[in-house]
């Protein structure tokens, strides 16, 4: 390791203050700190030892919790591909391979345009270190895209999200809206035909789908009952794809790359909760809010979608993914513990309301989270105000 360290030390010189490449100091620092944890020591006064955690490890934990869903997503892209084109894969590896070919370029494009171009440019201009936040956003963005997403759109969305939703606010830790969701919302409103409808959820490559293959997501099917008046569960059963509750839970269904498998997402959730990186309060309250709202609607029961069993809401669409990986984003969620309950529950409730009552958007979780991101500071404001009031009251006794 000494040898490698020496190389780094030598390479470092031009990037130091006064060196030729001093402007790019933070670029070098990024690489340097990825290789080696620096030899910084505690200051003279204050805490003399530090916790072994740092932002990199923190973010890495999130990435690792995303891996099961991502790997499954790749597999599922291939699985859906073979289902749709009616070919027989020779082995499981074939399925993977299709998925990898499709998903890995999306991830690479996201990183190249979001991180390497946009974020590095800002770090040079604004002279701030490159935070690890984008490591996570760079994985999240591909996972909320449909598998057919054109690469140029991924690039546009990544740049837009990093510039407008993050750097405009001062970088990692300062943003108000979830970066990955802004990327998705950008595409959703800018180029709707490529990210919504029934045609985008299954990657076909150059092939043509077999007759009768619809490619509709469970959400779209559920929403279609508003017009058809058919029972949702029966509609699911009648579909060519297996939309049984169990399969919806396992996730072999069309959808965004990372969102289909509730099982894999729950594994990720377990990692997040166990490590304390993701807030279990938010997760529980999103699921709880959604479930209770769905129950309430099924009591009202004005149409077939409302009558869909409430637990189906938890396994269709991106609810689980949003609850576990998006709503828990510590920067954009409420920052008070009490606030988290309100924040999560509102996300769950709004998601179901948008799904059932708003025919314009089959999926509600994205907008529900963005909406609550906007209102999180207000929720916090009142929680903090209550804390201040408590202090005033208590002290005068």
């Amino acid at each position: 390791m000494k040898f490698l360290r020496n190389i780094v030390e030598k390479a470092k010189v031009p990037f130091e203050k006064g060196g030729k490449l001093a402007k790019y100091h933070h670029l070098f620092e990024t690489i340097d700190t990825l290789l080696f944890v620096p030899n910084d020591t505690a200051k003279l006064k204050g805490v003399q030892v530090r916790d072994a955690v740092d932002l990199k490890r923190f973010m890495m934990t999130v990435i690792i919790s995303l891996l099961p869903a991502l790997l499954f997503g790749m597999y599922n892209v291939g699985y859906q591909y073979y289902q749709a084109v009616g070919l027989e894969p020779t082995s499981a590896w074939d399925l993977w391979w299709v998925g990898i070919q499709r998903v890995v370029p999306v991830i690479i494009i996201t990183y190249v345009f979001g991180l390497f171009i946009t974020e590095f440019a800002f770090s040079v201009i604004r002279k701030h270190p490159i935070n690890e936040g984008f490591l996570v956003s760079g994985i999240l963005i591909p996972m909320v895209m449909p598998p057919t997403i054109p690469l140029w759109q991924v690039a546009c969305a990544s740049i837009f999200a990093v510039v407008i939703a993050k750097e405009a606010f001062g970088g990692t830790g300062m943003n108000v809206l979830n970066v990955a969701l802004v990327a998705r919302a950008f595409l959703y409103f800018a180029y709707p035909s490529d990210i919504s409808g029934d045609q985008v959820w299954v990657y076909l490559g150059e092939q043509v789908a077999v007759d009768g293959f619809s490619g509709a997501t469970p959400l779209a099917l559920a929403a279609s009952t508003l017009e058809s008046g058919q029972n949702v569960v029966q509609t699911f059963a009648a579909s060519t794809t297996d939309f049984s509750f169990a399969n919806l839970f396992y996730g072999f269904v069309p959808g965004s790359i990372g969102e289909t498998s509730v099982l894999m997402i729950l594994i990720g959730a377990a990692i997040l909760v166990f490590t304390g990186v993701g807030s279990w309060k938010v997760m529980i309250s999103v699921f709880g809010g959604a479930y209770l709202m769905a129950l309430l609607l099924s009591v009202a029961g004005a149409n077939e979608y409302m009558l869909m069993p409430a637990h189906y809401h938890l396994v269709i669409g991106g609810l689980a993914f949003g609850a576990v990986f998006m709503a828990t984003d510590p920067v954009t969620a409420t920052q008070t513990e009490t606030g988290k309950w309100i924040y999560g529950a509102m996300i769950g409730i709004l998601t179901v309301i948008i799904r059932v009552l708003n025919p314009a958007y089959p999926e509600g979780i994205m907008l529900a989270i963005l909406f609550m991101n906007v209102f999180a500071p207000l929720v916090d404001y009142y929680v903090v105000a209550a804390n201040k009031k408590r202090r005033l009251k208590r002290a005068t006794v």
Partner: protein
């Protein structure tokens, strides 16, 4: 500048008179031009359903030679007096006001598009439409061929405050999709024409009662479908009556 109350009052009075004068003057002077503009606009959009007006075309002249208008009620009977007993003019029927009333009580204008050479021959019927889009009202005209089944053309418009993706309904590109579609099925039931979800681009995929959708504006399409269907239903008696003539 502290002035006496009298001064303030006199000043205000003069202001009011001057401003009032200027405004009534402007309004008087411009009234004929405005009336003409509104008329032109209405007539242009009516004609828009059956023909493409070129720049420089005298819409008013074409209109006066080619269009014969009348007003019918829900049962398809001709009416010539409005509720107040005054003579009724099809062009002056306020579609929005009528839209807010019960379908049974509305006045339904019909514009007959006459043959260029033989002004007694009806070439098409143009019917006004009105409904709710995503944000605001949408409106338009649908022109039916003589058979009162095949669509000759449509023109749509929307109240333009904040246009969304659905704003495309006023473009020719969307409107031509309706041409040649039929509104009745084989057994003579009114099925209207439905704009589908999503945009598929291949015209051969659509049935005779279907047109391609607009991506990203499912709701506008929905409003459009509802509007077309609603108004065709209202005119159904009239259509049925005239189909068999």
């Amino acid at each position: 500048m502290q002035r006496s109350n009298t001064y303030v009052l006199v000043f205000t009075a003069i202001m009011t008179v001057v401003i009032g004068g200027i405004l009534s003057f402007t309004s008087q002077v411009l009234a004929p031009a405005q009336k003409k503009s509104v008329e032109l606009d209405t007539k242009q959009s009516i004609l828009g359903a059956v023909m493409t007006l070129e720049k420089g075309d005298d819409a008013l002249a074409i209109y006066s030679t080619r269009i014969k208008s009348m007003v019918v009620d829900i049962d398809g009977n001709l009416i010539d007096k409005n509720r107040k007993g005054n003579p009724i003019v099809a062009e002056e029927v306020n579609i929005l006001k009528n839209y807010k009333m019960d379908a049974g009580k509305r006045e339904y204008p019909v514009y007959q598009y006459m043959n260029e050479n033989d002004p007694t021959q009806i070439e098409a019927y143009i019917l006004p439409l009105y409904g709710a889009g995503l944000w605001n009202a949408i409106y338009g005209y649908v022109a039916l061929e003589k058979d009162l089944n095949t669509i000759k053309g449509v023109s749509f418009g929307h109240v333009q405050e904040t246009p969304g993706l659905g704003a495309r309904i006023d473009s020719k590109e969307i409107q031509v999709r309706y041409q040649g579609k039929t509104i009745f099925d084989e057994s003579g039931n009114l099925v209207s024409v439905v704009m589908l979800k999503g945009e598929k681009k291949n015209p051969s995929l659509f049935g005779t009662h279907e047109v391609d959708g607009m991506s990203g504006s499912t709701l506008t399409a929905k409003g459009l479908n509802a509007m077309v269907k609603d108004y065709l239903t209202c005119y159904e008696s009239f259509i049925k009556k005239n189909q068999h003539q």
